[in-house]
Symmetry: C2
Subunit: 323 residues, 2 copies
C-alpha cells in the first residue's frame, strides 16, 4: 500500500514512536525532531491511516448523527450546523436516517456504534418508542438529543422552548385583536408536536386539528376549517410546512390572508419568507442549537462529568405579512 508511519520515521531518522508523537502534535518531542518528521511526512505525502489509530487509541474522532429524514429542510439545516461545528473540532460526521421508523432507528444506531463513533447526536423519531435506542446508545457513548426528546429518558437534550414559541405567537395575535383561533398541528408522536399542542391548549384553547407535519395536511386542514363553517380569526400552525400548505390552499379558495384570517407557522424554514404572503413564524436558532449540542458532547469527550441537562433555547418571533 501507501506510505506508513514507519517510512516517515525512517526518513526523519527517528523511531516510529517519536514520529507518532510529532505527527499527533504531542509535546515531549525536541523541536528539531518534530520538524524533521513533519518534513518527511510532507515529502512522502504521508496519509495517516486513521483506522489503525482509532483501533489502538479507541477514539475515531467521528460523531454519529441520526435524523428522521435528511431532506426535511429543518433537519437538513441542523445537520449542516452540526457538521460545521464538528469540522471546527476536526471530527467527522457519520450521518444516517430513521425514516421515522423506530426499528430502522435501532438498527442504524447499532451500525453507528459498530463503527465506534465517539458520540451521538440524535433526533429521536418517536416520543416513546425511541426510548430503547436512546438507553442502549447512552450506555455506550455520550449522547445528546437534539430538537426532539424522548419521554422518560433522562439524557441531555438541546432544543427550543416550544411553549415560549407558542406563547409568543398567541400573544402577538392577541395584540392584533385576534382571540378566536384554531390550532393545526401534528399528532403528538414526537416531543415537539406534544409540547406545542399542550402549550396551545393551555394558552389559547380553540379548536384543534391534528395530522402530520406535511404540506398536504396543511391543505387538507384548510379545507376542513372552511367546510366547518365559520373560519377562526387566526390559525396557529404546528410548523411552517403545514402553514405553507395552509396558505396555498386558502389562496386557491380565495380566502385572503391576513385580512380574512391570520396564519402563523413554526420553525422559520428558508421558504417561510417566500410564502404568499410571507409567513409570520417562530424562528428556531438552529446554529445555536447545533453549537450547543456539539459543545456538550465535546465536553463529555474531554472527560468532563456533567449531569443530564435540558438546554432550552428561547426562540424568537418573526413577524411577516401572514400574521
Amino acid at each position: 500500500m501507501g506510505i506508513r508511519i514507519h517510512d516517515v520515521a525512517a526518513r526523519a531518522g527517528v523511531s516510529v514512536a517519536t514520529a507518532s508523537r510529532a505527527l499527533s502534535g504531542q509535546r515531549g518531542v525536541r523541536a528539531e525532531n518534530r520538524e524533521k518528521v513533519l518534513l518527511a511526512a510532507r515529502e512522502l505525502d504521508y496519509e495517516p491511516n486513521s483506522l489503525a489509530a482509532a483501533l489502538r487509541s479507541r477514539t475515531t474522532h467521528t460523531v454519529g448523527m441520526l435524523v428522521p429524514r435528511i431532506s426535511n429542510p429543518f433537519f437538513a439545516t441542523l445537520v449542516e450546523a452540526v457538521e460545521n461545528r464538528l469540522q471546527l473540532g476536526r471530527r467527522s460526521l457519520l450521518l444516517t436516517s430513521s425514516h421515522y421508523d423506530p426499528e430502522a432507528e435501532q438498527s442504524q444506531v447499532r451500525a453507528l456504534l459498530d463503527r465506534r463513533v465517539d458520540a451521538l447526536v440524535m433526533i429521536p423519531c418517536h416520543r416513546e418508542r425511541s426510548i430503547e435506542v436512546m438507553t442502549t446508545a447512552a450506555a455506550r457513548v455520550p449522547v445528546v438529543q437534539l430538537d426532539l426528546r424522548v419521554n422518560g429518558f433522562a439524557g441531555t437534550w438541546v432544543g427550543v422552548d416550544g411553549e415560549a414559541g407558542i406563547a409568543a405567537v398567541v400573544h402577538h395575535l392577541a395584540g392584533r385583536g385576534v382571540t378566536r383561533t384554531a390550532f393545526v398541528g401534528a399528532e403528538p408522536t414526537d416531543s415537539s408536536s406534544q409540547e406545542r399542542l399542550d402549550a396551545y391548549r393551555r394558552l389559547a384553547g380553540g379548536s384543534v386539528l391534528l395530522g402530520d407535519f406535511s404540506r398536504d395536511w396543511g391543505k387538507e386542514a384548510a379545507g376542513r376549517l372552511l367546510e366547518a363553517g365559520s373560519l377562526p380569526e387566526g390559525i396557529v400552525c404546528g410548523n411552517d410546512t403545514i402553514a405553507l400548505g395552509m396558505l396555498a390552499e386558502l389562496a386557491r379558495r380565495g380566502v385572503r390572508v391576513p385580512e380574512d384570517v391570520r396564519v402563523t407557522g413554526f420553525d422559520d424554514i428558508p421558504y417561510a419568507e417566500l410564502g404568499q404572503p410571507s409567513l409570520t413564524t417562530v424562528r428556531q436558532p438552529q446554529e445555536q442549537m447545533a453549537a450547543e449540542a456539539v459543545r456538550v458532547l465535546a465536553a463529555r469527550l474531554a472527560g468532563e462529568e456533567a449531569p443530564a441537562q435540558r438546554i432550552a433555547i428561547s426562540p424568537s418571533l418573526v413577524v411577516r405579512a401572514s400574521g
Copy 2:
C-alpha cells in the same frame, strides 16, 4: 472492553477463524457450526468492531460524500437519496461539505480518505478549481461526480441533461406564444449553471442576467428587469430558488404571473409547488441520480472494470401555474 469475537468463538466451541467466517456470512462453514456461532453472538450481545475488521480487510463499508452545502434542499434531497441507497447495501455515509470553497473541499476530501472510505460521491463546488481534488481522490478510490461536473476531468458523472431541460422549457413557452424571454441564472462557476446558460443562449437567446443561485438574486433580478423598462414575456430562471425569489418580488411589485409574465424554474425542489403561483419547472429525478451513482460505485467496488461514463438522465417538465 466489550465482547470480542474470541469470546463468541469460545462459547460456540469453535476457533475464531470459524466464528469470523460464520459471522461474515461466508460459506464454507458447516451449518451446525454457523448456528452455534450466531447463537453465541446473540446471547453475548456481541458488537463487532468494524474498525478492526476494516483495518485488516481494507474495506470500511463506508462511502464519503462531499456537497457544497447540506442545507440546500436540492443537495439535501440528493444526500438523503444516496444515504438510502447505501443503507440498502449496508454501507454508511460519511458526509461533509465544502461551503463552495475549493480549499476546504480539498481538506475535507483528504479527511475522508484518511478515514479510508471505500468510495466517494462528489458534488464538486467549482467547474475548474475542483479538478485537483477530483484527480487525487480518483487516484485512490472509485469516485463519481454527482449533479455537478469538473471541466477536463475524465471521471464518471451522473446527472441530468441540462440542455434537454432548458429545451423543454423554451419549447413549452413557445407553445404558449412566448418568444421574447430573458434568462436569470448564476455565474457559470459550476457545470450546471454553465450548461443551462449555454443551452439558453443556443435555444432562445434573450437577455441574460447572471448572479448566484439564491432567492436574493432572484429578487434583485426582478427589480432589474422591471427597471429596464419592457418586461419580457417569459423569464427562464436557472433554478427554483432564483425563481421563487423572482416570484416573491414580482408579486410585491404588483406584476401578475402568468398574466403579465411567465416564470419558470429548474430542479423542482419541494417548495416549487408552494410558490404563489405554483412554479412551472424542470424536475430532476434525484432518486434515480443517487441510485445510479451508488450503483456505479458498488459495481466498481465489486471489481467491475468500467471506463468513465457520462450518465445523463433526462429531466421532465412539470407544468404548474407560473408558466
